[in-house]
Symmetry: C2
Subunit: 749 residues, 2 copies
């Protein structure tokens, strides 16, 4: 059990949140958990990874495909639509293990049951099984097909569409406004009963078949919809034709057969990635939900995109990729499905040219990675990203031009993938080049302070985004320093093992002159150090800012929609921060700071943190677990784990809708469980396993793959067991190292 997310009863007010909560997806498409009879007003969306479009001056964002699930049911002439006819009963059930969403709705005369999945086996395939059971004799009419009247935030992205029907096959074919990408959706319906085809509709952005049949009380009528989606981004010459052929082929298989193939993929995923908790069903279910979301959104078929900040649950935040990918999402895949992680790493190699171009734009060298990255490698972020609600004027923000830690995060992601997998392919195939370019970017961004004989990084936006234009931000500087160190390691590695590749790169990048600079800056870049109380100042002058409590500060808010960050938000001139910054740095570089320092800084910064970002709680959870604040760790773990389940998140900033999945928190939940409570860390040479379980938990079991070998860890409060049939690397448990030669070790705690 603990794989079933269930909700009973129908509540119009929950339509938006449930659409996100009951998401199904396969990394190619994301399908919001809206009911089959819903339309654009209810935010129906089938969001397509990597298909972006811009209309006029609007935000460039992901495209929603026409809705192939669209189905309206009429009983004795009256429509059964949950929005208009109050159901006698209604239940949504998401089976995480099978990645299948089931809906059951009971009306006066009929019960409706639907099952849907976005196939993990065939990414172009979306399946729906729709059953009607008659409670009394009745006449049924069904109106089903494809609806292109879909949710668009900054659309319309398919301004005109071709509606069509070829025999039983329906299709809608559209073209995006900006790049002219084709988006084709085809559908075929199969029934287990006879019906009368009333009409075929191919107009008004809909391709539909309307059919009717009579039912006797107790009878069940079931039909299956096969929906295929192809776009020109897939690299096929004629997406419509391909989708038509695909739907003909798959519709020769039964729903059950196709579902079985889908389930096989998911079974393999859970085998690799499930984390088991005993003693806490709520935590167990929440944790699995987060893992489910990550696997439903990761692109397994392409390295041209990664996982957007709001997943594929809509177009929010432009469907853009941020630094969350590397810092919050890659760890799960690095250690449970490294081939998926490799896609994420290559994504940054594929956008390296864009990052170079952005560096040039600002007169820097190397690679300045995009703050909001889509498929082209251009930065989708704007200079005036927020509206001042008091004046209606756009506010100049520095996400795009000063959040330079992004280049460090990207380099870190590539390097950590190499550390986890030992796979040099990504490095040789552009990853090393990206790391060297990121290092060169930091060198060109930095200034040298002669009176202090050190490099500094000035005017940056912190990981804590409420503070912009600050100098020597701890997180930024330590990430930059690590990038420079990585670059020197990459240089050493290439020179030693791949001298030809080394020479090639030196020439291609004209890098020889940079080598001494990179080495010098790696040495002399200033990173704020703990003061006499052990506290690390988040940036120059932070300690001199006003320090109200979070509650005090919130009491100053005049308008709930007001922006709290720079340039003049309430928190800008205070020590109150949006999210983990020093604490994040100390977590990622925990080997460089003694436990006591990490503990003190957690205690110092937590009361100063508003946790206004869903990126915050996971990090505070993990560091709390590491430094022994286990109650706090549990509290923050549950906070991050339940964000998307509970819907307890901000839906609007100003008039900007920001709802959707929170993929950083989803990835962060796995990190909090495995790296926090599970105490897992891998340094490239050994596994470190220092588990600390919350009071409630009897045991915690997880699996990781390190350098290609599978390990299974089972921790209770009394002992920890590590098993591996193939484990070649030693395991360190609370400082004591153990060989894995015997295939299993058990250490009493």
């Amino acid at each position: 059990m603990n794989f079933i997310v269930k909700e009973s009863g129908f509540d119009k007010k929950k339509v938006m949140l449930d659409g996100t909560r009951f998401f199904v997806g396969n990394g190619y498409m994301g399908v919001r958990g809206t009911l089959e009879e819903f339309g654009k007003e209810e935010l129906c969306g089938c969001t397509l990874a990597g298909v972006y479009d811009q209309v006029g001056e609007g935000w460039r964002e992901l495209v929603n495909a026409p809705n192939g699930l669209y189905t309206r049911l009429f009983v004795d002439g009256a429509e059964m639509n949950a929005l208009e006819v109050e159901p006698l009963a209604h239940e949504m059930e998401l089976d995480l293990r099978r990645a299948v969403l089931t809906r059951e709705t009971e009306y006066d005369k009929v019960k409706v049951k639907t099952e849907r999945f976005a196939s993990a086996d065939n990414l172009h395939l979306l399946m729906l099984r729709y059953s009607v059971t008659a409670k009394q004799d009745c006449e049924i009419t069904v109106d089903t097909g494809i609806d292109a009247n879909i949710w668009d935030i900054n659309g319309p992205h398919l301004p005109t569409v071709d509606e069509g029907a070829v025999g039983e096959l329906l299709y809608i074919d559209g073209e995006t406004a900006e790049l002219g990408n084709t988006v084709a959706v085809c559908g075929v319906m199969k029934t287990d009963f006879d019906y009368k085809l009333e009409r075929v509709v191919t107009e008004n952005r809909r391709s539909l078949r309307v059919f009717s049949f009579a039912m006797k009380a107790g009878e069940t009528a079931t039909f299956v919809k096969y929906i295929t989606i192809y776009t020109s981004v897939d690299g096929v010459a004629d997406p419509l034709k391909t989708a038509q052929e695909a739907v003909k082929t798959v519709s020769q298989q039964s729903f059950t057969e196709l579902l079985a193939a889908h389930e096989r993929v998911w079974a393999e995923r859970w085998e690799a990635a499930d984390v088991q908790i005993t003693g806490d069903d709520e935590a167990q279910l929440a944790l699995r939900y987060n893992i489910y979301i990550m696997y439903s959104n990761v692109p397994t078929h392409t390295d041209k995109v990664a996982i957007p900040a709001r997943g594929l649950a809509g177009q929010v935040y432009k469907g853009a990729m941020f630094w969350d990918t590397e810092v919050y999402m890659m760890p799960l895949f690095n250690y449970t499905h490294p081939d998926y992680a490799r896609n994420l790493a290559y994504y940054r190699v594929n956008t390296l040219d864009g990052a170079r171009e952005k560096a040039r734009e600002y007169n820097f060298d190397g690679a300045f990675y995009q703050w909001e990255c889509q498929e082209t490698g251009k930065d989708a972020c704007t200079d005036f990203a927020v509206i001042d609600i008091f004046t209606g004027r756009p506010l100049r923000t520095h996400f795009r031009d000063q959040q330079i830690h992004i280049s460090g995060d990207v380099a870190y992601g590539i390097w950590e993938h190499y550390i986890a997998t030992g796979d040099e392919a990504v490095l040789l195939d552009g990853g090393a080049e990206a790391i060297l370019e990121c290092a060169r970017f930091f060198y060109s961004y930095a200034y040298f302070k002669k009176t202090k004989n050190r490099y500094e990084l000035l005017e940056v936006t912190c990981a804590d985004e409420y503070h912009e234009r600050v100098h020597n931000n701890f997180y930024t500087n330590i990430m930059a320093k690590y990038t420079l160190e990585m670059a020197t390691k990459v240089l050493d590695l290439l020179k030693e093992k791949y001298p030809k590749k080394y020479e090639e790169l030196m020439t291609k990048l004209d890098y020889a002159k940079d080598v001494p600079n990179i080495r010098e800056m790696a040495e002399l870049l200033y990173v704020p150090a703990p003061d006499e109380n052990g506290i690390i100042e988040q940036f120059d002058g932070y300690n001199k800012l006003e320090c109200p409590t979070v509650a005090e500060l919130k009491s100053r808010i005049i308008d709930p929609r007001e922006h709290l960050g720079a340039p003049v938000g309430l928190m800008t001139e205070t020590q109150i921060i949006k999210q983990a910054d020093v604490v994040l740095g100390l977590l990622l570089f925990s080997d460089r700071y003694p436990l006591e320092i990490r503990r003190k800084n957690w205690e110092h910064y937590e009361p100063r943190t508003e946790h206004g970002s869903t990126l915050s709680a996971a990090i505070y959870a993990i560091l709390a677990a590491q430094v022994g604040f286990s109650d706090w760790a549990y509290k923050f773990f549950m906070k991050t784990a339940t964000i998307d389940l509970s819907g307890n998140y901000r839906l609007y900033v100003g008039d900007l809708f920001i709802g959707g999945l929170h993929t950083a928190a989803n990835g962060g939940t796995w990190m909090a469980a495995v790296q926090g409570f599970g105490g897992f860390k891998f340094d490239g040479e050994k596994l470190i396993v220092n588990p600390v379980l919350p009071e409630k938990w009897q045991s915690l079991s997880y699996k990781v793959i390190c350098r290609g070998c599978r390990y299974e860890v089972e921790a209770t409060k009394k002992q920890v067991t590590v098993r591996s049939a193939e484990g070649r690397l030693p395991v360190s448990v609370f400082g004591q190292e153990y060989s894995m030669e015997s295939g299993e070790i058990t250490v009493a705690l």
Copy 2:
């Protein structure tokens, strides 16, 4: 003629402006041109130079002395107060030549005439002659003495006072809140008629004598008030006693005798500083008014203060000294009254320790001069200087911590004084030290950009104050570069001529290690250069900002009180600037840029300038004259020359009163006449005289003292004549050099 500023008629709405316009002062005290019967509501003020006080958290500001002019007139029992009884006629007349303010008011039964002057001969003396002429027989009562119910912006600065009378002598003695400074005002009245003393009042913050007498039609009764002011800031042990003795002594002299002594000083001033224009009476009078204001405010008795931004016409802007002193006010005194200029130069030597302390506060070396400097050398400026009118929240401004050009301006002032006078005393006596410390400050403020092999100055507030936190501001960087160059010149001068002093300073300042740094930075400090179109970018990225017209931008204003500058004012993210910046740099360093470049930048920046500061017009006038835009030059000259006469200036920012004299514009007017149209410049070796007269002007004559020798320049459109009985230095006219051996040269144009 053209020495009389006159106004007829009484208008209540003009009380505030006239109080400023009809100012009399002597650099020790400034007396607002309010009527004798006025009180605190009418902003009566006798502002004392160098006497500062702070009450609680209020702004620290100049103290107003109790009002010794206070006089109320009753005719047949009814008070004749212009505010309440509409006068039949009313005239104010300020005689600039004599520095005497006359007031004539006619009522039904009487005419009143008063004359006042703040003695330039005895700075502690304020004189009033009050005459009543009866138009019919009447009974007169006069209520006169000292009133301590005075205008205070952030007071009360004399929270309790002693009121007293000793025989005919009245006094009020008060103590300031912060430092316990004593402020004593004494008064003696003499009449030319007999009267009946009704009573003596010494309570409620007033010391008064009430007396009465009968008049016949046609008779005139005149009394004279001798008022002396001493404070403990003067260094006298017992200010009250000193003031009492002083008033006894002076009251043995007649009004006429004391006036004559006062007039002698002013005659000498006009002899040295008058600038004569033929063909334009309006310009002539306005120009003289500005010279009058400067001489009425310059401290001739002390080097512990300079000239506040609003003069001694009240407490506005904290009575603080800004960079205007060096850039806008010293030139007039350097070239017409160098001993007064010396006080201004020494003022910065006297506040050097404060500047050092401020540098320490921000972890810099050397001297970071105060943005708003009072007598202590502490910076009176705050970090949150402006209130956001939309939210009521204080806005973080960077006047105090980033307007670093102030240290360059101060060094420039000291050096320019030395250039003008050849007097090494100020240099040897702390001036050289100040310059060296300013240079060291810039070195410690600067960052080195390795990729560009240059020093840069980051995060500064421009001379154009709408743009803060910018990098490599042209004005700041060129001023800093000049400071570094001055420092190397100072080092060379001392080493060669005063080796002992040189060694002393090296040791005292531990400067030896800094010498190579200063020399290197003087060489390698980046100063933005003209681009391919000849335009100098005001700061990094300025050219990329939005560029609306000034009118367009102003149309976006929502509230007339809103702050237009940083952090989020309307102009911050645009190219619209408040005041001259690049143009000011090009003016001060005109020898470094060809005329064509100066012309192009004037044309480029003028349409981008809001002229929101009264510091702007003079600079645009001078450069316009230099580059041949003579219509523009005249327009901007008249604008700067008439600011205080017309009262055409902003009175409020938010709810902050900012009225008062505009001493930068006053000094700037002289500069515009002499350096602009007069084409005067002195480089330490020769006088440069390139006059360009506005169309309207037939001739322009001015006098300057260069290195101790007096020169007289008379320019028409056809020729220029330079005379000097003692001139040792050559004169260059439009590039041709002439010896002054003959005592006079005339060059045809």
